[in-house]
């Protein structure tokens, strides 16, 4: 793992732990000053642990001047594109869900009132982002919207930056193409700056894949702990994270079971906090809305056609670079007569899982697709780019060695 990657992993996991600590502090009426100390302590312990473990795990790779220059140029390009494309206000669900929940979690005495807002507010959604916003809001005194935007901006930039450093260790030019493709995908930037939780979920899911990949390279169990902690953060970010973490666990069950202690240590704190949170929250509307009729929906082929056509439309209009990358990857696999990598098959299963949610949705299908399908593609985009870039870099490396 690149030195920069280790620091990014530390930062994003610290954010996850801080969010958990803040929520627990609300629950146990812990004074805010003590909460800040506990969050700092958790970050420091994680830093010491990572530094100690990872220094022995992998050699720190030094970036060359050329790499740094290319990185700086690409980050400026990404920022420029974001400045041009950024919306002037939070998107609908930020007002209705994420920032709205944060406004309750900012109030140590009133936060439980959040769960009374059943209509259009989805109080069952996990609270990594709202707790994080509430924590920073109370720490800095800045208004909710500014804090939410700052978190959204940092996350939107962090995903391509992390991908760049992870990929540049294997192939610099693949890393450049990957980072540039994010700057050239307006949908990614707009979605990222809309103050939703999808970019955070995408980042943690990609982080879990990066850590698993690192484990396969180095065989150091510390990466299993980091991997499951990333999955824990994904689970604590959005309900979709539960499905993504479940599919991830199924695909890597052997590895995770071999290091079950590390795996449990990583994910358990987040699962406990999620369970406590869910014990206050009402049932999920999609689960609650299932009143029979599942079989007829499953056998209604027109629903599959509609879902397929909509995703194709989205890929053609918003995420065409992802479409090209996936197509090239598929063609390459066919020509070489190779199976896609395990990670790619896992990602395809996640996508199929999302499609099944649409097949079974109790809501109007067209409305449900129109309001959320692009976000689901957004959630899988960084992981897909990481897998394609890693596979491509590995094959280019193999060819140059031959």
């Amino acid at each position: 793992m690149q030195r920069q990657s280790v620091h990014i992993a530390w930062a994003v996991l610290s954010a996850g732990y801080t969010s958990c600590i803040y929520f627990i502090s609300l629950l146990l009426h812990i004074p805010f000053a003590l909460t800040v100390i506990l969050a700092l302590l958790a970050g420091s312990v994680l830093y010491i642990f990572l530094r100690k473990q990872l220094q022995t795990a992998t050699p720190a790779l030094q970036a060359t001047n050329k790499t740094l220059l290319l990185f700086a140029g690409l980050l400026i390009l990404l920022t420029g594109a974001a400045l041009f494309l950024m919306p002037a206000q939070p998107a609908w669900d930020a007002y209705a869900i994420w920032n709205f929940h944060a406004r309750y979690l900012e109030q140590p005495d009133q936060w439980k009132q959040l769960f009374r807002n059943g209509k259009f507010s989805h109080p069952d959604y996990p609270a990594l982002l709202p707790s994080g916003i509430a924590f920073v809001r109370r720490l800095t005194g800045r208004e909710t919207e500014s804090v939410a935007f700052a978190i959204a901006a940092l996350t939107t930039l962090l995903v391509p930056v992390w991908l760049f450093w992870e990929t540049s260790a294997k192939n610099l030019w693949v890393a450049v193409v990957v980072m540039a493709s994010f700057a050239l995908t307006p949908c990614y930037i707009q979605e990222g700056l809309s103050q939703y939780a999808d970019t955070l979920l995408a980042m943690y899911f990609m982080g879990a894949l990066i850590c698993m990949q690192q484990y396969h390279t180095s065989r150091q169990p510390v990466y299993i702990l980091l991997c499951t902690a990333m999955l824990g953060c994904a689970v604590w970010t959005k309900n979709e994270g539960i499905m993504l973490a479940g599919i991830f666990t199924l695909f890597y069950i052997k590895t995770l079971f071999r290091h079950r202690l590390q795996a449990m240590a990583g994910i358990l704190p987040f699962l406990v906090v999620l369970l406590v949170y869910k014990s206050y929250a009402p049932a999920n509307d999609l689960v609650q809305g299932q009143q029979g009729g599942a079989i007829s929906k499953l056998t209604d082929w027109s629903r599959y056609r509609e879902i397929g056509a909509y995703f194709l439309f989205k890929l053609n209009n918003g995420f065409y670079l992802l479409k090209i990358a996936v197509l090239l990857y598929t063609v390459h696999c066919i020509i070489k007569r190779q199976w896609p990598s395990q990670a790619m098959l896992m990602l395809a299963t996640c996508f199929a899982g999302y499609c099944m949610v649409y097949v079974l949705t109790p809501n109007d299908l067209a409305w449900h697709l129109g309001t959320s399908a692009d976000r689901l593609v957004h959630q899988l985009l960084p992981a897909a780019m990481y897998i394609i870039a890693t596979d491509l870099s590995a094959r280019l490396m193999k060819r140059s060695q031959q």
Binding site: A63, A72, N117, L158
Partner: protein
């Protein structure tokens, strides 16, 4: 060097985006911005644990969402029939007012045309 440069650049770029957002925000005229002042007044009159039942024409759902956001942590329950001390109505500006109604906010443009009325029970 690489880690330090990455951190500095990331923070600088995030700061730039935040500055850009504030510039855009200062020039915007969204519904939340228009509603902020009257609802700050209303919020100041109500305790933080207050519950308000909102009778809202579905056409004004977005307005309801913005008001709910601005009034948090007070609870604004949607389209409830339960009688409480105060009810907030979001309805067309042309709707007849009942005796005792207090119009808190009236807005009309090419798209929206509504009144927000408090009716004491």
């Amino acid at each position: 060097m690489g880690t330090r440069l990455t951190s500095i650049l990331l923070l600088a770029c995030t700061g730039t985006l935040l500055y850009g957002y504030h510039q855009k925000k200062s020039h915007r005229d969204t519904e939340t911005d228009r509603l902020r002042a009257p609802f700050a007044q209303l919020a100041a009159l109500l305790p933080a644990n207050a519950t308000i039942y909102v009778h809202c024409d579905p056409a004004y759902l977005e307005t309801y969402m913005h008001i709910r956001y601005l009034m948090a942590p007070r609870t604004l329950l949607y389209a409830a029939d339960t009688a409480t001390d105060t009810t907030l109505f979001i309805w067309p500006a042309t709707a007849p007012a009942a005796p005792g109604d207090h119009t808190l906010w009236y807005y009309t443009d090419n798209v929206y045309d509504y009144a927000l009325t408090i009716r004491p029970r």
